[in-house]
């Protein structure tokens, strides 16, 4: 992972800060610079709701190299309560029965770290509520 790229987006990753189009009201996560619905560039920051529902999920046994130590990784598509679809990991998934339709809440966990001497990447994961 790239520390400075992470730093740039750290608030997005820990607080789910996305965008809202000032013109048509459409909301986005990840943030956008151009509204996909109306094309406006008048965009403001908007913190996303932290609760949602599982739309799909999987258990990845072969993660990419930066996450190798954390296999298996539980990933899900979550429909947040404002209608937006977000991709994220599930926290404490190994001990839960995961179902499409289950309610989840965003929390902060360690995504990965750059070895013993690198930084720790903290970000959102969803836990079943």
């Amino acid at each position: 992972m790239i520390p400075i790229a992470y730093w740039r987006n750290r608030k997005l990753y820990t607080r789910l800060i996305g965008s809202r189009c000032k013109k048509c009201g459409a909301e986005y996560f990840p943030p956008v610079k151009v509204c996909k619905k109306c094309g406006s560039t008048e965009i403001e920051e908007k913190e996303m709701p932290k609760t949602g529902t599982i739309v799909s999920f999987t258990k990845l046994t072969e993660p990419p190299v930066d996450f190798k130590d954390y296999a298996p990784i539980y990933l899900a598509m979550i429909r947040l309560d404002n209608g937006i679809l977000v991709l994220g990991q599930l926290a404490d998934a190994e001990s839960e029965e995961i179902k499409i339709g289950a309610r989840v809440m965003a929390t902060i966990r360690k995504w990965t770290e750059d070895g013993q001497s690198g930084i720790i990447y903290y970000g959102y994961k969803f836990k079943i509520i």
Partner: protein, 340 residues
Amino acid sequence: MRLNSAILGYGAYVPKYRISTEEIARIWFGEGSGPNRMKAVASYDEDALTMAYEAASIALKMAKYPEIEAILVGSESKPYAVKPMGSILSDIFGFNKILGVDLEFACKGGTEAVQMISGMITSGVIKHGLAIGSDTAQGRPADDLEYTAASGAGAVVLGQPNGNEIAKITHSVTFVTDTPDFWRRPKEHYPTHLGRFTGEPAYFTHIMSSVKLLFEETGYKPSDFNYAIFHQPNPKFPVEVGKRLGFTDEQLKPGLLNDELGNSYSANTLVALNAVLDVSKPGDKILLSSFGSGAGSDTFVIEVVSKPDDDDYIPLREKLKKYVEIDYATYSKWRNKIIR
């Protein structure tokens, strides 16, 4: 010290996983168990920071998000040796004009944070602060302390008393000596301790000295308190020290958690405080005495003023009912005890 700070919000976070001490004993001795039944184990993607975030989130919500001017986190398992958790929590919570530093005094880092922030509030230097104790305690394999070295976080939002607070902190004392009962050198992964020496000369001497100091300063006696919380390194010590000091089982019981959770080190007494505040009533008095190896003890007088006003708040013991037991292999993998 006469303090005049208020608890405006409190919260605790205990990871959902447990390992039984029977399972630990099975691996190392083929039989037996520890002094406690189970301990809480942080998942592989949790650390002192993530747990501090969880506990603080609950406390901040209960306190209705005041402008925080100091975030002090006590821990002996800091994710970074250099880079305080306050710096990370600053951007997570959106409080950038803060004093944000990590504190270490073994298991009393959390209560040190409470003292220091209370001091800043009492003297009027700040209006609101966040005191946290959080640890993923490292238990040396096959050592006695492996049974109890656990994970957890406790947080309190402190501010100026105004009559609407949940509780007031009216006094604190601290008692410190140079006592090498338990320590950790910088490059060591696990702490080292001197066995039975951690009992009388360390735990008992410091807690009793600190509590007696408080009694002298304030004129309070055990019967003035509805609850007593003592640092819980194992299930027996707090009960024993309570007895010696003249407290009853009823005063201690609501705060006893070691049997099911183990010892969350810097979070220990703050998590117990959470459990007690959940059941206490306005007008109740709580004595809280922490112990940090090295060694020292902080003792507080806490007066309950009102119940929390938060519809979403779930009492700690309710949350603790749901947990998942793991085996030693999973525990080893998650707590990084396996060389790859």
